[in-house]
């Protein structure tokens, strides 16, 4: 299929998302998650331990840097450039830390892999967020409450909940960068 034909539905979702449509934005992100998982699996191999972390980092960038997309641009060209940038960054990090810690022989009998769509990095970084931000995130995301319900539960105003979520996402992305 032509790239333009593939690009058109993503572009339409992106335009709606930029207008504030959360449903369209979620749909775009989950389609991108599938595409990115396939793309990175081709580059790294489907069982690479960093695969899902890379998918999540790229999604974070797509979300937080979405104001850098120009509607005159193709959406896939923009998203591909971000994915490639994150991939190259991973290669660079791997060159730097090529060493392996010495473990005991039990390491051979490690736990079977948990959910392959679970990323370790974001989880760990989340655990380092301030308590208050973490409580909000847990309420909004993991327990699937609306921002209004989360506000009621945490005793914050709804706009404060929204600001807190946005800040947390930015912190996550900054941490990813600083760790690199």
């Amino acid at each position: 299929m032509e790239l333009e034909t593939l690009d058109a539905p993503l572009k339409a979702l992106m335009l709606k998302g930029l207008g504030g449509d959360a449903v369209a934005h979620a749909e775009l992100l989950s389609r991108m998650a599938t595409l990115l998982r396939r793309f990175f699996a081709r580059k790294l191999g489907a069982s690479d331990a960093d695969l899902e972390d890379l998918v999540q980092e790229t999604l974070l960038a797509i979300h937080l840097k979405r104001d850098t997309w120009d509607a005159a641009q193709s959406f896939s060209g923009w998203a591909y450039a971000i994915a490639r940038y994150r991939l190259i960054d991973l290669y660079r990090r791997r060159r730097v830390r090529r060493s392996e810690p010495i473990e005991t022989a039990e390491a051979l009998f490690g736990e079977p892999d948990a959910d392959p769509t679970a990323g370790a990095d974001v989880e760990r970084l989340l655990s380092e967020l301030p308590e208050r931000q973490r409580a909000v995130l847990k309420a909004v995301k993991l327990d699937e409450l609306s921002t209004a319900e989360a506000a009621a539960r945490t005793g914050m105003s709804e706009s404060a909940v929204k600001v807190s979520v946005h800040r947390s996402l930015k912190t996550l992305m900054r941490r990813v960068r600083d760790e690199n």
């Binding site: 934005h25 999540q56 104001d67 060209g77 923009w78 490639r84 995301k141 946005h166 996402l169």
Partner: protein
């Protein structure tokens, strides 16, 4: 954390996004950089006789040249701030402006008696001009790099160079309000030298700080 949870989290962070924020912020930085450079220039070096300047073709030649490079730099920076965007236009504008002034310079020198060629090339301030332009570009350079950090340059060094070219062109335009040199070749060598130094520092700094 599962990717689906992260997506839900980001979806709840969906707000309408203002269009055109990159060109708007960069233009603001350019205007602020020009203003700060002017505020530094006036007590430091003073203005030339502007009544005389605006009647002189050489003043306009220099101003159009340095503004042209600034515009080329702005176009480059605006595109390099975005992943996957084509930045050909900025290269064409920058190259076109350089080639045009090179043509004027050669034409001017070819029509000068040979004993006046060196004075036209070196002027009387060749050893100060690039450094002054670079100094005037520093505030703008800091501002533009800080602004660029909030964008998404996937070629950090090149984006930094474009940003340096942009603010360097602006600073050189402000320096033109002081400098009374008239020859095209002088401008081509020494003004360009100062602007190129700004671009080089931008590239080095961009390589370090524009990664994300």
């Amino acid at each position: 954390m599962k990717t689906d949870d992260l997506i839900a989290m980001m979806a709840s962070d969906t707000k309408p996004v203002a269009r055109g924020s990159i060109p708007r912020k960069l233009s603001l930085v350019g205007a602020a950089g020009a203003l700060v450079a002017l505020v530094i220039l006036i007590p430091w070096l003073g203005l030339r006789d502007m009544g005389l300047a605006i009647g002189a073709p050489s003043y306009w030649m220099k101003t159009i040249y340095t503004l042209g490079l600034g515009v080329g730099g702005l176009l480059l920076t605006e595109r390099l701030a975005r992943p996957g965007a084509s930045w050909v236009r900025g290269v064409l504008v920058t190259g076109g402006v350089l080639v045009a002034l090179a043509g004027i310079s050669i034409f001017q020198l070819a029509n000068l008696p040979s004993d006046q060629v060196m004075p036209a090339v070196m002027g009387s301030t060749w050893d100060k001009c690039p450094w002054r332009i670079l100094a005037l570009s520093v505030p703008g350079l800091i501002a533009v790099l800080l602004v660029m950090r909030s964008f998404a340059p996937t070629r950090p060094a090149l984006a930094g160079a474009g940003a340096g070219l942009f603010v360097g062109g602006v600073a050189a335009t402000i320096y033109g309000l002081h400098c009374a040199e008239t020859s095209a070749m002088f401008t081509l060598i020494w003004y360009t030298g100062g602007i190129a130094a700004s671009a080089l520092i931008g590239a080095l700094a961009g390589w370090r700080i524009l990664r994300w």
